[in-house]
């Protein structure tokens, strides 16, 4: 009792706002949310918001908007997407997909998905991969304000530890990693027919598949992490309608982002952390590499651990994050097409995923 004055509880933490540019200077870009993963077990997953007209970056907005959610956003954010009027946040360690109102980030409800990983959408359906070996399906009609904890409508069994997924040509492509059982990785893509919600075929690609993204030209890009030893990371370009492999590029891709016909990627330092990372582009129309780096050497030397990568569809700007040493705050860079850094800002812990509003 004597020492009661010495115990200071934090209470609701207010967002920390940084003025990055003068209001209106941002031009035609878009607002975006950035999801900081937070270290496993830390419950430090956090949401940042960039307001383009105000030129402000607000750090850690979730708790102040939703102070009544017990222990906040949760543990290890793994994906963030906007679909319709809602913002979906996959929180892996908390086994939930938070469903927020997209403009205000006010929580509407949550979807219970154990060990959830990544999101995709089609018509009125939400799809989410779970390391428990399935793709969960829920209809957006039940995701109403006050719905509380929503259970999945259906679980479609796929391969082991599915990671990324993407919709293309009325099919859902799901990358199975098998990451729990090295060296016995999975090596398949499960293709789900969206009309029947069942697996229509399984494509054998390569071990430890990771991300899946589709372009507007009938391609599905699937990245593989390899086994961190003699099997190097690479990526595959598939024909979206047939699932046929059009090209297997032996480029050790880390994360990638597709903007129209250009695939932006950085390489993975898959053998040791001091391996040099390069920041490159790939033409999905011609299926050929583009020479040169999309970052200046100045910035690529500076980035310790590249993580999130996204291209602003309106402003033609590149967003790339540096997760640093993973145990301290990261940095987000806003880069123009010439590689000039227009601003940079300190983020939360492990800035990993971006969704444009």
């Amino acid at each position: 009792m004597l020492m009661a004055g010495c115990r200071k509880e934090v209470g609701v933490i207010a967002p920390e706002t940084t003025q990055l540019m003068n209001p209106g200077e941002y031009g035609s870009g878009m607002d975006f949310y950035l999801l900081n993963e937070g270290n496993m077990g830390s419950n430090h997953c956090s949401l940042d918001f960039f307001n383009h007209s105000a030129g402000t970056y607000a750090l850690n907005i979730y708790e102040s908007v939703n102070p009544s959610v017990t222990l906040g956003l949760g543990d290890v954010g793994n994906d963030i997407e906007i679909y319709g009027g809602k913002l979906y946040v996959v929180v892996n360690g908390s086994g939930k997909v938070e469903v927020l109102e997209k403009g205000s980030a006010v929580k509407l409800c949550q979807i219970e998905v154990p060990n959830c990983r990544s999101l995709a959408f089609w018509n009125s359906k939400v799809f989410v991969t779970s390391y428990n070996g399935f793709v969960g399906v829920v209809d957006t009609s039940v995701l109403q304000n006050g719905a509380g904890s929503v259970q999945l409508d259906k679980q479609i069994a796929v391969g082991r530890e599915p990671e990324g997924l993407a919709v293309a040509a009325n099919q859902l492509y799901v990358a199975n990693s098998g990451g729990y059982s090295p060296p016995l990785y999975d090596h398949t893509v499960s293709v789900i027919d969206l009309n029947t919600l069942s697996v229509s075929k399984t494509i054998d690609l390569g071990i430890n598949l990771n991300d899946v993204q589709a372009d507007n030209y009938g391609h599905v890009v699937v990245s593989a992490r390899g086994n961190y030893a003699e099997v190097a990371p690479s990526f595959y370009v598939l024909d979206a309608s047939t699932g046929e492999v059009l090209k297997h590029e032996q480029i050790p891709v880390g994360n990638f982002a597709i903007s129209d016909s250009i695939l932006y990627y950085f390489t993975s330092s898959y053998q040791a952390n001091n391996q040099k990372v390069s920041y490159k582009r790939y033409n999905l129309k011609t299926l050929s590499a583009i020479a040169g780096s999309f970052l200046t050497s100045n910035l690529s030397e500076k980035i310790q651990f590249p993580y999130a990568l996204k291209v602003d569809p309106k402003g033609n700007r590149i967003l790339i994050s540096d997760a640093g040493d993973y145990t301290s705050p990261g940095t987000l860079y806003w880069v123009d097409m010439e590689g000039n850094v227009l601003w940079q800002v300190q983020t939360g812990e492990i800035p990993g995923h971006i969704a444009f509003l």
């Binding site: 200071k8 496993m40 419950n43 880390g254 040493d325």
Partner: protein, 708 residues
């Protein structure tokens, strides 16, 4: 920035200058008085001058001798005899009976941060003077409790029933007649087995206790000692404990206020120990100890949003057998030979994760389960030679062999040979004590991954001095300097898939300067002990985990420089009035531990995780005839959970008030009984020591003990 750096360099150099000055002064004054003291005190008995804790000499143990004198008032504190900062808690301290595990006692010590993951089963390790957990050795009866896997010993594994004392040496045990290994860590916790003094009048002694408490706690223990002959004595103990660990906890941010029950916190713990002690006519002594331990428990996990249950399990078995033989050779030479075999088994399982296993060519699906089997062999020989009365020289040589079998990816099967050699000397010249040692370490790692052998050798020095300037004034100055290093553990080397051959040991440097005062009186105020120590530590090449391309795979790197400034204060006193005895202990620690890894980074000069600036404890025991009462208060100041100090990583201060009562009732002859009742965390504060690992609120224990 430059000025700042210069300032700190100046501070360090002035600190160094002061320290060196003191040492020179001590040396000079020592040399000047050496001649006379050696002649005037030729028959000085070293045993009363040195700290205790030499178990190969069971019947010479000065702690036992002292304990048999009036219990509370005349125990001479180790601070009088010890050259280095030391804290001791023994069975005879009233708070001992309130604890279940060694960790419950260690939390009272100053300069020690107990990292407690909550509940009875939660991992409990210590960080002494902010050097990091791996820098603290834990020795049972003078021999190390090894954990080659992760280099840290869980103090929640060890019950109090079969122990007599717990000491923490901020430097090392200055009793230099010991294994070379004992010089190898930055600091050390010594656990001493319980040992009764028996004679033909009392050829056997024992105790039996039973208790129960909140959250499904039941515990029972037996201890017995029997004199077999004039030469041999045998001791046996068993200890069993079980708890459901389903305590309520609360998290709040002022808007939500959620109370839940801890899940999967159940623990079953059992251990037994059998010891044989022999003491022969030529003053040689033999001890043989076998120990077995089993613990099965749930891992309740971190409490995070939307996930309040966990299914991970841990099942451990430990076994060790150790023997020690001591023999005086002539009047000046003593030899001690020790051997230990240690086996640890640990199974970790997570039923929520299914994976594939390749077994004899078949692919089998099963839940995630990892098995770790560690075998260690330890051999030590030490020789203490008295060059002159008051001047001893020790030579010790140890060999360790550690072998770990893991089935993570089916390949890891590392083993390590470690050779230690130490030369140590201890000089007492009048009121000056000097101790120094040089340790040689040679580590040879055998890796299955690349079939290579990695060798590392190093010399590490330590030096201590204490000085009592005036004969009539019980004020002593003490100081030490120590360089030590910790090898990467098997976890650091093999849990990641990268070949970690370039990983270097973690190095520490310690500078410590202190003053102590102890005086006893015969009146109302029985005694007063005051201690104040300041220290400066540096940890270089800190081994930290950084992730690689995937969060599943972390890489261990030597990254990080920490600088730690600290101050420790202890005050102990005893009052006696009309048969009421009041014992009080106040401990306070100030630490300023900061990250100096990367100038310009956001974490530069931030406080190290989980090191509060202020922490302390207060214990008051009141004894009157058959009645006893203890009150204890523990305070841990605000701190941060991560390298980057922010509101997000801020962890609030916590403090607990614990009270206990006991009543002793003689039954017949030597048979006495005692009733114990304790209430911990009286004001039901909800707090985390480690973020997201809630601690229990108010809880009760009741027990009965019979001594015979």
């Amino acid at each position: 920035m430059i000025n700042d750096n210069l300032g700190s360099i100046r501070k360090i150099s002035s600190f160094l200058a002061g320290w060196i000055g003191l040492c020179i002064f001590i040396l000079l004054s020592g040399v000047l008085t050496a001649q006379s003291s050696i002649h005037s005190l030729p028959t000085r008995n070293k045993n009363t001058e040195r700290p205790v804790a030499d178990t190969s000499l069971p019947f010479n143990d000065s702690a036992n001798i002292l304990q048999d004198v009036n219990l509370y008032t005349t125990i001479l504190p180790a601070v009088i005899s010890c050259i280095d900062p030391i804290q001791v808690i023994t069975r005879k301290y009233p708070v001992w009976q309130d604890g279940l595990s060694v960790s419950d006692m260690v939390r009272y010590f100053s300069g020690v941060q107990l990292k407690d993951y909550g509940g009875v089963g939660g991992l409990k390790t210590v960080d002494v003077r902010s050097l990091g957990t791996r820098h603290t050795a834990v020795l049972m009866d003078g021999l190390p409790l090894e954990n080659a896997q992760n280099g840290q010993v869980d103090l929640g594994k060890y019950g109090l029933n079969d122990l007599s004392s717990i000491s923490i040496y901020k430097n090392q045990n200055s009793q230099i007649f010991q294994p070379a290994t004992a010089f190898a860590s930055s600091n050390a916790i010594y656990l001493e087995s319980r040992m009764e003094s028996l004679d033909s009048l009392r050829p056997q002694k024992g105790s039996l206790s039973m208790g129960t408490g909140s959250f499904g706690l039941y515990n029972g223990s037996f201890y017995g000692a029997k004199r077999l002959s004039n030469l041999f004595q045998i001791e046996a103990s068993v200890d069993a404990m079980t708890t459901k660990g389903d305590y309520p906890y609360t998290y709040t941010n002022g808007v939500y206020d959620t109370t839940l029950k801890r899940n999967n916190g159940d623990v079953k713990r059992f251990n037994g120990k059998l010891s044989l002690y022999g003491h022969f006519e030529d003053s040689s002594a033999l001890s043989v100890i076998v120990y077995g331990f089993r613990r099965q428990m749930g891992l309740p996990g971190a409490i995070v949003s939307n996930k309040f249950t966990n299914k991970e399990r841990q099942d451990e078995s430990d076994f060790y057998g150790q023997t020690s033989y001591f023999k005086p050779v002539g009047t000046k030479d003593k030899i001690k030979v020790q051997f230990k075999y240690n086996y640890n088994y640990l199974k970790y399982s997570n039923p929520e994760i299914n994976k594939l296993y390749l077994v004899n060519g078949d692919t089998i699906k099963g839940v995630l389960a990892n098995h770790y089997r560690q075998s260690s062999y330890f051999f030590s020989a030490a020789n203490l030679y008295q060059i002159l009365p008051g001047w001893d020289l020790d030579l010790s040589a140890d060999v360790h062999y550690d072998h770990l079998r893991m089935d993570l990816n089916g390949l890891e099967n590392p083993y390590r040979w470690t050779y230690y050699g130490a030369i140590a000397s201890y000089v007492t010249i009048s009121r000056v004590q000097l101790a120094g040692n040089l340790l040689y370490t040679n580590v040879r790692d055998h890796q299955q991954i690349n079939d290579g052998i990695i060798g590392k050798q190093k010399l590490s020095p330590a030096f201590s001095a204490s000085w009592q300037p005036f004969e009539g004034l019980p004020v002593k100055f003490r100081s030490f300097f120590k360089k030590s290093f910790q090898m990467p553990t098997f976890n650091d080397l093999y849990l990641t898939q990268y070949n970690q051959t370039e990983l270097r040991p973690e190095n520490s440097e310690q500078y410590s300067l202190g003053i102590s005062y102890y005086k006893g009186w015969s009146g109302l105020f029985k005694n007063l002990q005051l201690e104040l120590d300041g220290y400066y530590n540096e940890v270089k090449d800190k081994i930290v985990a950084i992730p690689t391309t995937s969060l599943f795979r972390w890489q261990m790197v030597n990254l990080g420089l920490a600088k730690i400034k600290g101050l420790e204060f202890t005050a102990k006193s005893t009052f006696e009035l009309n048969g009421w005895l009041l014992l009080s202990t106040l401990e306070y620690t100030y630490q300023d531990a900061r990250d100096y890894t990367k100038p310009g980074s956001v974490t530069y000069k931030n406080e190290l995780p989980y090191i509060p600036r202020h922490s302390g404890s207060f214990i008051l025991s009141i004894l009157k005839d058959r009645f006893g009462m203890n009150y204890s208060f523990i305070y841990d100041g605000e701190r941060y959970s991560e390298r980057f100090n922010s509101l997000v990583s801020y962890v609030p201060a916590w403090y607990t008030h614990d009270v206990s009562f006991n009543y002793r009732l003689p039954i017949k002859g030597p048979l006495t009984s005692a009733l114990l009742l304790s209430v911990d965390n009286v004001f039901n504060q909800h707090y985390d020591v480690i973020e997201n690992y809630p601690m229990p609120g108010r809880n009760f224990k009741i027990g009965v003990q019979f001594d015979f």
